[in-house]
């Protein structure tokens, strides 16, 4: 080992599925992991889905065991409400500064009984639920969030606005609420870094022709996911703004594809999944999918597609699509593959927007000193589309922060990043064991 | 089901003889032993006391004098004899075993679950006229012998086991060779082969299987249709009497838990029956709890459960041989009930126990689409 003392800890940024899998695998190998998560919960966007294609497995049931494992793993130092502020050094010797915001709720004492919510006088839109439901100033994003420990939103909490409100504190039987908590600045020495910060959804407002934001009952994919979610704002009931059950729905693919200049790889499949969502709740509903090219790569997905088609869904290959509203009706105007103009009246429209880099990706890239590709995703070594190796040795990117992809590929990349780290640093591996 | 089960056999050998069926079969066995086709044969032999028959593995031909392939009773189900001999592996002797079709079907089932090894055994069946209930036979063995022979001549099944009277598989060929007497002209009988092994035996014996056996097959078909009607009728009547919990409880109420039915059943191969195991031995508290819930419980409480459990375990393989009913000291119509259920469960999987070695027992082997049904269900 002659070389100068190196760190063996690993920093993982983002506690979505990729970050979790990477952390667990590293921990299994005996590494200590610092997992930095911006939000107050783990699971990233996967926990927003009720079911995942193609086997329609319950998503939370799939992930929560992994989350539990994470929370109970003594090798993993989970830092929530935390962000990386500064990264210095190089492979083997990174020095990382992390800013960890106070949660004001003690992770040990709180047992997640939620008794503190009701008394809180403040009500706000719940971002996690795409604003479809309300939350308090002390809150967990959704039922079943892990860790099941609320946080206090200091921007809106009366207590932090100088008012003398202690409602939550009084309601807590476990003295878990601690207004005295302070933000911390943590400095760590790590050997390598895995970036797994995930993705954002293309803002459908940028494609006005689909009427999103203007027309009621035009939903984005994420909104719809939450509508269908049994722990979501409607507890899985699908109905229109006017409370009625939709009799027909249109799903529009490739929203923002032209703007982004790439295919997001998962939209066709999750759109097909939405078919199942709708049919399972409203068997008689009439569904039309507007698409240009069907992208369902892989051994299992066509089978999935065929199964969906059996439900009588109308697949319409259409080029220009515009959504308008006259009176009550929503009209989808389109040009079919023969170039013929036609239109379709529906109760509800679901947009399948593209996957795009996180808004703060470039900022993080700057801090890490790695380059992004032309789309703003973390760039793989020499143009390699899937490579987890970034432009800077010792820093790896996994999951959708590296490019749009499905869960399977995200997990593969997470494990690959771990593979890269472990194989690059064999000498210390044995060191660890004998030490 | 309007056709006799099993693969249709068109060719065979017609043998002329002055002997009766029993003697002819014994002759056939002797010949096979002379030609070293078999080193030994397994046949029912009358016991010295003359009041029963037992399977005996015979090498010394002189002992064949007491052999009775068509014994009037089935004291031990032949399949049990075969597994008794070969459960631990194949022997070195080439053995010809003469058994009733239902015994061979049970043997086939046992082979599927690895309880026998047929490598060196040639299974020979015959058109079965049925057997008497042991208890009837024992009233006066000598007289019973006459009664039986006479009944067989008149092909009258009234004296036979109740399940024999409704057996529609009495000529089903699932072994290697089969001796056919149905539809045979006087002084002749048929031999047909159902397997490569069978063909080889006939070959070594220099008997060609080139004769047309339509007469046999047609007669078999007639018997099948007649018996099948009878069977369905009898099952229908029995079902009326035994459906519903109360009827079931009453039907088995006289059971004294001797488990004879299980022990003599060729299919019940468990080393230690669940219902004899510690699993059904509870603490006095448990028993009192149960009693308190009902005010009173029969003791032991698992009587009906035993029969239902056994049914669940073996009805897919039940061959309706009737051994259980013969062994029941309380004259419960076990075999009739089990054969009724067996027909229904086996129909479900269009499976016939013992029809062929190549059919896996349902529930162990499964078809892939069965799984998809499950998927779609949820």
């Amino acid at each position: 080992m002659g070389e100068k003392k190196q760190h063996t800890d690993v920093l993982v940024i983002g506690a979505g599925i990729a970050g979790i899998e990477a952390s667990l695998l590293l921990s299994k190998s005996g590494r200590r992991v610092h997992l930095v998560e911006k939000t107050s919960y783990t699971g990233g966007s996967v926990i927003k889905f009720e079911e995942v294609f193609s086997n329609m497995e319950c998503s939370t049931c799939m992930v929560s065991p992994v989350q539990q494992e994470l929370l109970q793993d003594k090798n993993i130092n989970l830092l929530m409400l935390a962000e990386v502020e500064e990264v210095k050094g190089s492979l083997g010797n990174f020095t990382v500064k992390i800013r960890k915001k106070a949660r004001y709720v003690d992770l040990q004492n709180c047992i997640g009984c939620n008794a503190c919510f009701d008394p809180c006088p403040v009500s706000l839109k719940n971002e996690f639920e795409e604003g479809l439901s309300e939350r308090k100033a002390i809150y967990v994003p959704c039922a079943g969030a892990l860790p099941n420990v609320p946080m206090i939103d200091t921007e809106h909490c009366l207590h932090f606005k100088g008012k003398s409100c202690n409602a939550c504190q009084e309601a807590c039987a476990f003295e878990a609420i601690d207004f005295k908590q302070k933000d911390e600045s943590i400095e760590l020495g790590v050997e390598a870094i895995i970036v797994a910060t995930g993705y954002d959804i293309f803002d459908s407002k940028k494609t006005p022709k689909y009427g999103y934001g203007k027309i009621d009952d035009v939903y984005t994919a994420m909104e719809f996911e939450r509508l269908y979610a049994s722990n979501g704002p409607t507890e899985g009931q699908i109905f229109l703004k006017n409370g009625k059950t939709p009799k027909s729905a249109a799903i529009i693919h490739c929203v923002g594809r032209d703007e982004k200049g790439y295919c997001s790889a998962v939209c066709c499949l999750y759109s097909l999944k939405f078919n199942h969502y709708l049919k399972s709740k409203i068997p008689e509903i009439k569904i039309s999918e507007f698409y240009t090219d069907l992208c369902i790569p892989g051994k299992s997905h066509q089978k999935f597609y065929e199964k969906m088609k059996e439900t009588g869904t109308q697949m319409i290959r259409a080029n220009v699509v515009e959504v308008t509203k006259s009176g009550k009706e929503i009209t989808v105007n389109y040009k079919d593959e023969n170039g013929k103009k036609s239109n379709l009246l529906v109760d509800m429209v679901i947009l399948a927007p593209a996957i795009e880099p996180k808004s703060d990706a470039s900022e993080l890239a700057k801090i890490l000193g790695v380059s992004l590709d032309e789309y703003g995703f973390f760039k793989g070594e020499n143009q390699d589309v899937f490579s987890v190796v970034t432009s800077k040795p010792g820093i790896f990117a996994a999951g959708c922060c590296q490019g749009p992809k499905n869960i399977q590929n995200s997990v593969s990349q997470a494990n690959a990043a771990v593979g890269k780290i472990l194989s690059a640093t064999k000498t210390k591996m044995e060191g660890d064991i004998t030490a | 089901m309007s056709k006799v089960e099993g693969t249709p056999i068109t060719k065979g050998a017609i043998i002329s003889t002055k002997l009766n069926t029993n003697e002819s079969i014994i002759e056939f066995l002797k010949k096979a032993m002379d030609k070293k086709v078999f080193d030994a044969v397994l046949v029912p032999v009358r016991v010295p006391a003359g009041d029963s028959f037992a399977y005996v593995l015979i090498e010394d031909k002189s002992l064949l004098k007491d052999a009775a392939p068509l014994s009037p009773i089935m004291s031990v189900q032949g399949a049990k004899a075969i597994s008794g001999m070969t459960k631990l592996g194949k022997g070195n002797m080439k053995i010809g075993a003469v058994m009733r079709p239902c015994e061979i079907r049970a043997t086939v089932e046992l082979t599927k679950i690895n309880q026998t090894n047929l490598e060196n055994i040639t299974l020979i069946s015959m058109d079965c006229p049925g057997v008497m209930p042991i208890s009837d036979f024992l009233k006066d063995p000598e007289k019973s012998m006459k009664i039986y022979e006479d009944a067989v001549k008149r092909s009258d099944d009234k004296i036979m086991r109740p399940v024999c009277q409704i057996c529609d598989k009495s000529s089903m060929v699932s072994g290697d060779l089969h001796i056919g007497t149905l539809g045979a002209k006087k002084g002749t009988f048929f031999i047909v082969s159902n397997s490569q092994k069978g063909n080889e035996v006939m070959n070594k014996l220099g008997i060609e299987l080139k004769d047309n056996v339509d007469d046999w097959r047609n007669k078999v078909q007639d018997v099948f249709e007649e018996k099948h009607k009878k069977r369905e009728k009898s099952h229908k009547d029995l079902k009326a009497k035994t459906t519903g919990l109360d009827n079931l409880i009453n039907t088995f109420s006289k059971c004294i838990n001797c488990h004879n039915c299980m022990k003599v059943c060729p299919i019940c191969y468990c080393r230690l029956c669940y219902f004899d195991s510690d699993k059904v031995k509870h603490t006095s508290e448990d028993y009192l709890d149960q009693a308190e819930r009902k005010g009173s419980i029969r003791f032991l409480p698992d009587t009906l459960l035993f029969h239902m459990g056994r049914m669940m375990h073996m009805s897919l393989s039940c061959v309706s041989c009737g051994s259980c009913e013969d062994a029941c000291p309380m004259s419960i119509p076990v075999a009739q009930i089990f054969s009724m259920v067996a027909d229904e469960t086996q129909d479900l999987f269009d499976y016939v126990s013992g029809r062929s070695l190549d059919e896996p027992i349902p529930l162990v082997g499964y078809k892939e689409d069965e799984l998809h049904e499950m998927e779609d269900a949820k």
């Binding site: - | 009041d51 010394d60 002189s62 022997g91």
Partner: protein, 369 residues
């Protein structure tokens, strides 16, 4: 002289009332006795906790569907009952139970035993067509007259142990002409007296009527002698054995109903009793022919050695045998000869240790051939 309780009631009603009171007064949590379990009159041992359910109970019914000794053992196998329970059983059943207790297969703790001088029981198959029901009045007449009822189990005909040994309460039946009006319960133990508290009656000091019962015993002895002689004639030497067991179909029913057979897995159903093909082949080469499956005689003789010393001669094995082998008589005869050697009466006394008997398979290997 023993404490006794005279009750001026018809025996059937009287005993049922007594049992009901035991339940109602919380003396016991449950009553274990014979009971009509359906309209067809099927009778089975039942565990009863609800007084009303006793209306269908028939404690002294001349039938032994299963040897209750086996059932009581099952009831207390996993430890003595925490709640008090009273059981009404026949003397041989009680003795069977005691033999099992000696083998750690049960416990008398918290268990109250009511038994009676026993007139014997009918073969179980007579219950199938209701013959017993028809014979009942004849049966009780005989019992009242201290005679042997016709058609009862051969084993019972020749049974001389018709007086219970270790019962807490003995109901005196044999030779009691007036049991339709009154009957006496001998309270043999403190436990017995404790039970008796619940019912009104006339307490007295009394013993069983020795004279009557001795006479009765002689009649039974005579019957037993006949049975033994018959067996002797049928069962001369090994060939006799082979003949008599020759028709055994190996159903092992006798073992399953035997109150003494308590093995979890009978030796003769265990892997040790599986014969390799080679053993068959060597046999057949030696003798030209061999019975398949092997081991019928093994089984019978093996069981004889295992059980002989404790055989209580209840006759359950006789009843269950589908091929009418006179097992009970054989076992009783052999059993008694062994028992005499150790002058041991099975089931007489819980504290009397078992004479040591072991069994070596080899001992019989010649016999089998």
């Amino acid at each position: 002289m023993t404490k006794a309780l005279k009750i001026n009631k018809n025996i059937e009603q009287g005993i049922l009332e007594f049992l009901k009171l035991l339940l109602k007064n919380g003396k016991v949590k449950g009553v274990f006795t014979l009971k009509k379990i359906n309209d067809e009159g099927s009778i089975a041992y039942s565990l009863i906790t609800e007084p009303e359910e006793l209306n269908n109970a028939v404690p002294f019914y001349p039938l032994m569907p299963v040897n209750a000794g086996k059932l009581l053992s099952r009831f207390t196998l996993k430890g003595s009952t925490k709640e008090p329970v009273v059981a009404v059983v026949k003397p041989c059943e009680l003795r069977g139970f005691v033999e099992l207790i000696k083998r750690e297969q049960g416990s008398l703790e918290n268990l109250f035993i009511i038994s009676s001088t026993c007139g014997g029981v009918y073969p179980t198959n007579m219950a199938v067509d209701g013959t017993i029901e028809k014979n009942l009045s004849k049966y009780w007449d005989a019992v009242k007259k201290a005679e042997i009822p016709a058609e009862i189990r051969p084993a019972c005909k020749g049974c001389v142990e018709f007086i219970p040994y270790t019962a807490d309460i003995t109901v005196d039946l044999i030779g009691k002409k007036d049991i339709d009006k009154q009957f006496t319960m001998l309270l043999n133990t403190k436990k017995g007296e404790e039970l008796a508290e619940v019912i009104k009656g006339e307490f007295l000091e009394k013993d069983l009527d020795k004279e009557t019962l001795d006479k009765f015993r002689d009649k039974r002895k005579a019957e037993e002698k006949k049975l033994f002689e018959k067996i002797d004639s049928e069962m001369k030497g090994i060939s006799g054995l082979v003949d008599i067991f020759g028709k055994c179909i190996g159903c092992h029913g006798c073992m399953r109903v035997c109150p003494i057979c308590y093995c979890k897995l009978c030796e003769f159903e265990s892997p040790d009793s599986e014969y390799s093909p080679s053993s068959y082949e060597s046999e057949v080469k030696k003798r030209g022919g061999v019975r398949v499956p092997q081991g019928v005689l093994y089984y019978q003789l093996g069981r004889l050695t295992h059980v002989g010393i404790s055989c209580v001669g209840c006759g359950a094995c006789d009843d269950v045998c589908p091929v009418d082998i006179p097992l009970a008589t054989i076992f009783k005869k052999v059993g008694e000869s062994v028992q005499k050697m150790f002058n041991y009466i099975p089931g007489k006394d819980v504290d009397e240790p078992l004479p040591l008997v072991t069994f070596e398979k080899e001992e019989f290997s010649e016999v089998e051939k």
